[in-house]
Symmetry: C2
Subunit: 392 residues, 2 copies
């Protein structure tokens, strides 16, 4: 007989999901109402407005896809890529690889621009790819690579796409709410994100936004979008303005309560303050890790404050360390992915989880476990170094 499930209380400092704030969990559990209820339709409108603020955009087509970030990615590709289209795909981590797969499943051709994992996308290489493929219809890249902790220059890359007459598709799954995302200022055309990173919301929903140029491309498609569920012409009818809504699917009502609350919290704190908080806690963590003798895996200028890749010191057992953190401290950090498996850990400080308390807790736990493993670390210096940053 299977009985009710009571999860342990973890501290989530991995690559996501991050800790969800009690306010958001409270909103999540409010009584379900109908998805065609006039009160729910008002909620949908508020969510669109709040997402426009988060994305810093006036795009009318801004809404949450009723599925995780990877479906948001797919929504951008299936709506914008037509069979035969050439798409320049930048790969400097796991998620660029997934973009290539999406392009190919849409019947497009992916032109790959590869950079080393742990480094940002090179605008020069992208410019060269446009030179070699002037007929490229789309440029796709990841703003904040979750697999490595690297930020790429979204403004420069979107500008390149626009200058070459191409649309841009930008992954902001890990960036939204943690570092600056300026959809309109960048001139980005299709941008998707996730709820479970710096928005401190539960996983399962993907905010997306499409520029007027992107909407025009969608409306002039010759091939029907291959996905019924993600067809933006249908989805926008459901999320359309005023009281005219065409039934498409049943919205995930409670998840949208939670998203609404997390966006209200972001609006209350303000984007600038949220970004400052992420930066400061990142600086405290880095100071502590370096005082302990550990080394960051990403150059300071490209580091994501919300996802810290740190090198696993020599002689330390990767899996045993993460397992001890989870077992003894209820603390989750992330393993390295792909080329960086066994080489780095990924320590997330995302959204609600980006707090001084969590930085100090993580440093203490890591010091304790690495010390017991006999790693060559400096003991007793980490917390002081982090506190100095926080006091500064």
């Amino acid at each position: 007989m299977i009985t009710s499930f009571y999860p342990p209380r973890r501290t989530l400092l991995g690559p996501g999901p991050s800790d969800v704030s009690p306010r958001v969990l409270g909103a999540l559990a409010r009584p379900t109402i109908g998805h065609l209820d006039p009160v729910f339709v008002e909620l949908m409108d508020e969510i669109k407005t709040l997402l426009q603020y988060a994305f810093q955009t006036d795009n009318a087509l801004t809404l949450p896809v009723s599925a995780p970030g990877s479906a948001g990615m797919e929504a951008c590709f299936v709506n914008l890529v037509s069979p035969g289209d050439k798409v320049i795909v930048c790969q400097n981590g796991v998620f660029g690889g997934r973009m290539q797969d999406n392009v190919e499943r849409c019947g497009g051709t992916a032109v790959l621009v590869k950079d080393v994992w742990g480094e940002p996308v090179s605008p020069d290489k992208v410019a060269a790819a446009f030179d070699a493929h002037p007929d490229a219809a789309i440029l796709a890249f990841v703003h904040a690579e979750t697999s490595t902790g690297v930020r790429s220059d979204a403004a420069a890359l979107c500008q390149l796409a626009t200058a070459r007459g191409a649309l841009s598709i930008v992954d902001t799954v890990t960036s939204l709410g943690g570092i600056e995302v300026q959809v309109d200022a960048w001139g980005a055309d299709a941008v998707y994100s996730g709820t479970q990173k710096c928005l401190s919301c539960i996983p399962g929903i993907s905010p997306v936004t499409f520029s007027p140029r992107a909407v025009e491309r969608i409306q002039n498609r010759e091939h029907k979008v291959q996905s019924w569920f993600l067809d933006m012409q249908l989805v926008m009818g459901y999320w359309g303005s005023g009281s005219k809504r065409a039934y498409h699917h049943t919205a995930p009502v409670n998840d949208l309560y939670a998203l609404h609350e997390s966006l209200v919290m972001l609006q209350e704190e303000g984007l600038d303050a949220a970004h400052r908080r992420h930066r400061r806690n990142h600086q405290g963590l880095v100071a502590g890790l370096e005082a302990m003798g550990l080394t960051m895996a990403v150059a300071a200028e490209y580091r994501l404050p919300q996802l810290n890749s740190v090198r696993i010191p020599p002689g330390v057992d990767d899996a045993a360390t993460r397992s001890a953190l989870l077992g003894e401290f209820d603390l989750e950090i992330g393993a390295g992915l792909g080329a960086l498996a066994g080489v780095t850990w990924r320590i997330g400080l995302m959204g609600f989880a980006s707090s001084e308390r969590n930085v100090l807790y993580c440093l203490s736990a890591l010091e304790d476990i690495l010390g017991r493993q006999g790693a060559a670390i400096e003991r007793g210096a980490a917390l002081a170094a982090a506190r100095e940053v926080f006091a500064g």
Copy 2:
């Protein structure tokens, strides 16, 4: 400034979402843990087992798709239909139309078998379609049509498909948990459902199950599944057995807490008892409606107990009545869809919402509002008629 959202407390007797039980809402709001946490992996295994019970199947590939029922539908089609495939699609309501759209977006050809809205799918017509199209690879139909409240004979239809060497795709969105669903006994090959109907869970997740024959078809595909997000070969790697999981997307952790709890409740009550409860409350509602002088829209033998289509009496304003029910009684019932818009109401008695209390409340509210509109109804008879059923 947008502030926190507090939904009104509705009674949801529409076509779904239905009322979510407090136990499920409580589970939903438990603290989020990581989707790769060993404890979460155990939860995933329990959910698979509980879904096998709900579907009455031993199918190993039984899991919840991380998106609403319409994505579950699409998951069945994109994985089983290859370009050029011929699919017999039965249409006796809205959702058969959506199936056709799915087939065509997969590059398949839909052979339509049409029945009148409000009547079940005719096995004779399906047999004739197989005679005319012996090369049909798949038969697709809706077990319980949400748009009309009609049950079709899933056992007979699946048997026909098997006898003709075709696979069957069955929509059980509205049936699962409310009436008998016997995946293995039927010999069904791909079956999808939703969480927001008779499972009394929040909307947003779609349980699916695939027979070994269907899995074989998937594994021998020549064309890559057009959806990355819904590609079952990838999804089954993520939901795979034991501790070996290949990262695909981030599971909607809290939604799965809720689904788990709702399935535990179903297991506690038992499928037979749950079906009996749905049938009895349905009988009480019908007795009350008929005592009031209203007429059911569907013949008794095909009626879904969980979704009751009743004719709107002459001279009654459809929208004004539903609006008064919502405004004065916080009670949601459903409008007719498509051909039945303005002709019927759909009164759901699904899952947790299928209770004697809700039957009595709905009858009282309807009698009050129809009476005030001057409809030709019998007053004061409905509750007694319903109570007689409950006492019997």
